[in-house]
Subunit: 221 residues, 2 copies
């Protein structure tokens, strides 16, 4: 009886946790760090303050877990959508750049931005956010490579993909106070062209290298 | 006698104003928006709180003026250094990208970032910062074009230069909590190569267009 009764309770607990995480991201995106207290989040999630504190004993823990949870969900959605993209080439590259930039101009980025900036001056947040930044950064880079359908072993690919994520972050920041969509569309198109040229160059370098190896000639002479 | 005595007083007033503006940027960069009060800035500038309020009646006015003042100084320094850059080509392009990225990874960017993020949730700041962002954005774009030695009338140049400023903003954000210099160097090199390719393409498109016009053939047929 005790074992049978446990599962729905665990389910309820997981659902509560999830509601808290999603409400935390919404609060941060709308109200910023100063306005986002555990009480405000609990209220928005329809949960008592006690229940919120049971799940997340510290404010820092709640908001860091919230960004990680929502980022993981978004990245999983990106990965799941990879099969529906056109084959590698200009159309796919532009679709992927556009997708990445969308991720960095939505509420998740806005929430993360508030948390990052708060972490610059609040020590209890700082270490947590540095660790989180490493994990999310690595996962985003992998998801971008997989979406573009490229391997990062070719010369310049790693840096070109990193630059794409840095550009997306900058575009996210430019969209903070005003709707920057019209300007951004032109930047996304132009960068997609330049990125495609870099990927083409990398794959042609690679083909030359493969041919040289197959022919038994030294790769560098 | 009254007229003669006035000039040193005006000089003192200007010097006080300048010290306040510089202290305001330092405070913002170090302490963030919540920690940057007029009292803290006045103390750091070695000025009484009353004198600070005489120059800047509102906290929002002080910090907005501070970012504008320091940004204008940095842009003037960039413009003054244009004559010492190599002629247009890969070396100049990389030097300019590096210079722009340096501007966005220093204390001025850090200070601006704190102010921008505060403006997202504080109405009295918001309007001021939107106007400031327009002015500084336009000036930065012009300075980047002049430094690269290119005209933005060629196809793709405007968007490539905008993308470079967006990239720099993203790299500035990536440098907020940890020293990102090593990774950034690779991104700057790769971006410079791709930007150069875009500028070369634009100038060759332009040459073809000019030739077509000189030959009396319709440009589009």
């Amino acid at each position: 009886m005790t074992t049978a009764a446990r599962t729905p309770q665990q389910d309820r607990s997981r659902a509560t946790r999830r509601r808290l995480l999603e409400a935390a991201v919404d609060c941060l995106a709308e109200l910023g760090w100063a306005g986002s207290t555990v009480t405000v989040v609990a209220e928005r999630a329809g949960v008592t303050r006690g229940a919120a504190q049971h799940h997340f004993p510290t404010r820092e823990g709640l908001f860091t877990a919230a960004i990680e949870h929502v980022a993981a969900e978004r990245l999983a959605a990106v990965r799941a959508g990879t099969g529906e993209l056109p084959p590698p080439g200009p159309a796919r590259t532009e679709a992927v750049v556009d997708l990445i930039v969308r991720l960095y101009t939505g509420p998740l980025f806005r929430a993360a931005l508030h948390l990052w900036v708060a972490a610059a001056t609040e020590q209890p947040l700082r270490e947590r956010i540095i660790a989180l930044e490493n994990r999310v950064g690595r996962e985003s880079h992998r998801a971008a490579l997989a979406s573009l359908g490229v391997a990062e072993s070719a010369v310049g690919v790693r840096e070109s993909v990193q630059a794409t994520l840095d550009l997306a972050r900058g575009l996210g920041l430019a969209n903070l106070l005003t709707d920057d969509a019209a300007r951004r569309a032109g930047v996304v198109r132009q960068w997609s062209r330049l990125l495609q040229a870099a990927l083409d160059q990398a794959s042609s370098d690679r083909a030359t290298l493969d041919q040289a190896s197959l022919g038994g000639r030294p790769v560098l002479d």
